[in-house]
Each structure stands twice: as structure tokens, then as C-alpha cells.
């Protein structure tokens, strides 16, 4: 029997915040179609960037997304340096990498917490966010702010990491290893988490290539792409680390990719701390030339792409920004369809849609509109399923 229901998720719900609205078309329990509406967060940054000079644009692009607030300026300065063919001092490269990898740690921990919340493990949420705080403290120590770091600058970095901060950084990231072991153990051993995440929201390799998905979303489906290795910017070529891939393409694989990537991030930061030598941190770029430049960076969610066209004046003529979620969110069209509605919240969340994205969702069943739910209800549905499984296990 097909039974038509509207479940508008949103417009506002407590956990996620950003710019999307999903219309889930449901028949009974099954999701048959999905319509994704974005643009609630559109501020016209590309156009604003054309009114600002290059130094101001780094601050503007930092505010594209609060979670990857070092990736966007990083990609932007790489684009300008590509245009000018600037030689950036080595120490500046290492500082950029440390900030970028610390940001990856905090972003993945944040995602882990929210994913835990979606499937009803609020403890995971609280613990993951608790262990995220020391990372934010490191940022505060390095840059003076917990979230917008303002470290990147065309030609180098804006401020140095003080030698007295280095032991703290090392100590804090060492402390994260047992925490990651705990999370990894909890996720691989728990039968309920496995039952909830395995085989859910599967994205095949072909679909990933078709949609051009990026980052952990692609790597979980066996597509081996990582800008850090493919086009080694900064000093990634001088460091030993590996790209994490998984084969299954389900939510479990995406979770594992993110957890294992955190180990790699810690590994990279450790090597950077050792290899970082004293020296200048800024190439003092003063003149601009006409031309174009492309910069890309592996943000926590995938490749972040910036294109700059300059006419030699101090303002860009065109500044194109493509955030990784722009490509990843579109994959929900295939990963969500065919699953049950109680899996929808975690599937939509699994691409880490810059997180606050999934909020505004409406679920519409195909015939009459009989039931209205909000986003909170969708998460509740998702959590209830976990609890049911838990009860079954206890019996």
C-alpha cells in the first residue's frame, strides 16, 4: 500500500545548521526519491571577493565555512601563488600543514560526534566533542582564536608558531591517540553500530566517479584520490603518510576512513614538528601580474578548489570557489534512495555535508499529505531504530 506523507525537516532544527532542505519522497518506510534544495546559506562570496583586495579575500574566504576555516584560505593563497609562481619559505609550508591537519582532526572529531548523535549514541557525541576541545585550545594558543585562525597569507603565514608552543602541541596530539583507539574499538566491536551502519547508504565506485564526489566520501568507495598525494602542495611530498581507502562505500566505511585519517593527521603533524627548521615565514609578495591561477587543497571533506583571474590590479577579476560539499551533497540523490526513512538521517549526514547542511529537510510521501514531522523527528526515528536493536540484543 502506498501511503503518502509529508515530513518537512526543518526549517530549523537543533543540531545541524547550514544550508539545505531535503524533500524525501517516501512510500511507507522506503525512500523513493529525494529533492535537495540548497542556497539558504548563499551569501554571494564570489561576488564580494571581486570587491576586496587580495589580503582581505583571505579573511573573507575563511568565513565560507567555519569548520574548514583554514582550507579555503589555504587554497586561495595557493591559487595566487600559482599565478605569481612564488617560492614560499619552507617553515611557512610546515606551519600551514600543521594548522591544516589540526583542523582535519577537529573536523573529523566533530563529525564523529554528530554521527553518534544521529544513531542515538549521545555518549559518543559528548565524548568526541570533549576530546575536540584540546585541539581547539591548540588553535587558540597558536593563532589566538578557537575557530577562525587567520594564519594564511599570500606568500607565507601571518604568524609564527612559537618554539615554546611546540611541546604543548606534541603533548596534546599524543594524548589523542588513546582516544582514537577507544573510538576505533567502540565502532569496530559494537554489533549495534555495525548493524546500523553496514550496508546503509551505499555509494558505488561508478556513482562516485559520475557525481565527481570527493574526499572521504570517494575514498570510502574505493576511489583513491587525495590532493595531498596527487598534487603535493606545501611539503606533503617530504612526509611519509598513506591515503586511507575502504571498499564498501557504506556509512561504516565512511566512518572508518575518517577515524583512520585522524591517525594519519597526527602522524603528519609529528613529522612536521620534527622537520620544521628556523627561518623566514613570509616571502613578502608585493606585486601582482595579470594571469590566472588555480589552487586546491584537501579539506577534511575533499578537494577544495579556488580559481583566480587577475588583471594586475589589487583585486581579483574573478574568484571561483568550489567547496567539496557542493559535489558530495549531490550524491545523496543515489545513496539515500532505496533505504528506509530511519536510515535517512545518518545517510544524509555521512557525507559530512559541511555539517550544518542537512537541516532543512521535508519528507513527502507520494500521495496525500497525512503526516508532518520535523528534522528532529527524523533523527529520533534514526535513534529509535538503534534502541530497538539494543533491546533485541539484551533479550
Amino acid at each position: 500500500m502506498s501511503h503518502k506523507v509529508i515530513i518537512p525537516i526543518g526549517p530549523y532544527h537543533p543540531l545541524q545548521e547550514e544550508p539545505e532542505f531535503f524533500r524525501l519522497y517516501v512510500e511507507g518506510e522506503k525512500v523513493v526519491d529525494i529533492d535537495i534544495v540548497i542556497g539558504y546559506n548563499h551569501r554571494g562570496i564570489e561576488e564580494l571577493a571581486e570587491d576586496k583586495h587580495y589580503d582581505q579575500v583571505t579573511f573573507l574566504v575563511e568565513r565560507i565555512c567555519g569548520i574548514c576555516s583554514s582550507s579555503h584560505p589555504f587554497a586561495f593563497v595557493l591559487a595566487v601563488e600559482d599565478l605569481l609562481k612564488t617560492q614560499v619559505p619552507e617553515r611557512a609550508h610546515y606551519i600551514r600543514m600543521i594548522v591544516d591537519e589540526l583542523q582535519r582532526l577537529h573536523s573529523h572529531l566533530l563529525w564523529l560526534g554528530l554521527a553518534g548523535h544521529f544513531i542515538g549514541y549521545n555518549t559518543v557525541w559528548m565524548w568526541a566533542w570533549r576530546y575536540r576541545e584540546p585541539v581547539l585550545d591548540l588553535f587558540e594558543q597558536i593563532s589566538g582564536n578557537r575557530n577562525n585562525y587567520a594564519m594564511m597569507k599570500v606568500g607565507g603565514v601571518r604568524r609564527d608558531i612559537k618554539p615554546e608552543d611546540l611541546p604543548t602541541i606534541k603533548k596534546q596530539i599524543d594524548k589523542l591517540i588513546p582516544v582514537l583507539d577507544m573510538f576505533k574499538g567502540a565502532i569496530t566491536d559494537d554489533p549495534v553500530i555495525k548493524a546500523r551502519l553496514k550496508g546503509v547508504g551505499v555509494l558505488t565506485r561508478e556513482q562516485v566517479l559520475d557525481f565527481g564526489a570527493l574526499g572521504p566520501t570517494a575514498r570510502a568507495s574505493g576511489v583513491d584520490i587525495d590532493v595531498r598525494r596527487d598534487e603535493p602542495y606545501a611539503m606533503y611530498s617530504s612526509i611519509k603518510w598513506s591515503v586511507i581507502t575502504q571498499k564498501d562505500g557504506d556509512v561504516f566505511a565512511k566512518t572508518m576512513v575518517r577515524i583512520l585519517e585522524m591517525y594519519e593527521s597526527i602522524n603528519i603533524i609529528r613529522q612536521c614538528l620534527v622537520k620544521m627548521k628556523k627561518g623566514p615565514i613570509d616571502a613578502n609578495v608585493t606585486d601582482l601580474i595579470p594571469g590566472e591561477g588555480i589552487g586546491r587543497v584537501e579539506a577534511p571533506r575533499g578537494e577544495c578548489f579556488h580559481y583566480i583571474k587577475s588583471d594586475g590590479t589589487n583585486r581579483p577579476v574573478r574568484h571561483k570557489i568550489r567547496a567539496p560539499s557542493f559535489m558530495n551533497v549531490a550524491t545523496n540523490k543515489v545513496s539515500c534512495v532505496g533505504g528506509t526513512i530511519s536510515d535517512a538521517a545518518i545517510t544524509l549526514g555521512a557525507v559530512d555535508p559541511c555539517y550544518c547542511c542537512t537541516e532543512r529537510t521535508a519528507v513527502i510521501a507520494k500521495t496525500t499529505n497525512t503526516k508532518i514531522m520535523n528534522g528532529w523527528d527524523l533523527i529520533k526515528l534514526c535513534q529509535e531504530k538503534t534502541h530497538k536493536l539494543l533491546h533485541k540484543l539484551e533479550k
Binding site: P11, I45, G66, I67, E133, R146, C354
Partner: protein
């Protein structure tokens, strides 16, 4: 002090409205509820339905697509309801002021009680802001 306002000043339930924000403020708000800051100790709770809200916490600039939603959310809230603007974006539109999709500052749309500037404000500042918002009630 009327009974309504007296009830409002104890254990405020907040509803989080993100207009067009960059997430930073949103995450810092959520951070207030996690173990380090844990405002639930004081009875502040983040809730899922605006109809139960005592205070709206608004982040981000208001753009053309969110303006009807923000208005609607405020209409649905039971009055009296405090509006708290978190972050420089919702206080003064920040660097997005001259964007083509950004129209009005928040205080031209809703009656804002407390402004918490910062990009993003620290969780301590957000907590202080909520306390100050409750303080304004006591004067009434």
C-alpha cells in the same frame, strides 16, 4: 514581574536559528552544551521545536531565502520570547554587508534583546550573553 516573565527567567529553553551562517557560531553554540561548558547544568536546554522556546538564538546574516523562514519561526514561538543575536554576522552583517543576496540586518526584522559580537564568539561569551538576556527580564 508577571508570572510569564518570572517563568521565563528560570531554565530558559533555547531554539537555535541559523540564517546564513558559516557554522562557526553554530558549532560554538553546540559546544556550550558539551562537557567542557555544559550549560545544561543551569537548566539551559537546546530544544527541537520552536513552540517550546523561551529564547531564539540567531546566527548568521539574513539572506533572501532565509528571511521568510526566520520571520515564520519567530511567529511560531510562544511570546514572550527573547531574541539573541550571536556573532558579528547577525549583529551587523559583518563583511557580507554589500552582498547581493544579503538584505537586512537582523534587528530590522526581529526585536533583538542581546547582541553577542565575535567571529565566532567564544562559548563563555555566549553563556554570558544568555545570562545578560535573562538579566534584562528581571528589570521589567
Amino acid at each position: 514581574m508577571s508570572i510569564k516573565i518570572k517563568a521565563l527567567s528560570k531554565s530558559p529553553w533555547v531554539f537555535h536559528v541559523s540564517a546564513a551562517s558559516c557554522n562557526n557560531c553554530d558549532i560554538e553554540i553546540l559546544d556550550c552544551f558539551t562537557p567542557r561548558f555544559d550549560v545544561e547544568r543551569f537548566g539551559v536546554q537546546l530544544i527541537g521545536s520552536v513552540r517550546h522556546a523561551d529564547a531564539l538564538v540567531v546566527t548568521g546574516v539574513i539572506n533572501k531565502k532565509t528571511i521568510p523562514l526566520v520571520k515564520k519561526v519567530y511567529e511560531q514561538a510562544s511570546k514572550p520570547c527573547l531574541v539573541i543575536a550571536v556573532g558579528t554576522c547577525s549583529c551587523s552583517q559583518h563583511m557580507f554587508r554589500f552582498g547581493y543576496n544579503v538584505i537586512e540586518p537582523l534587528d530590522k526584522i526581529l526585536p533583538v534583546s542581546v547582541y553577542i559580537p565575535g567571529c565566532p564568539p567564544k562559548p563563555e561569551a555566549i553563556i554570558l550573553g544568555i545570562v545578560k538576556a535573562l538579566g534584562t527580564l528581571k528589570k521589567k
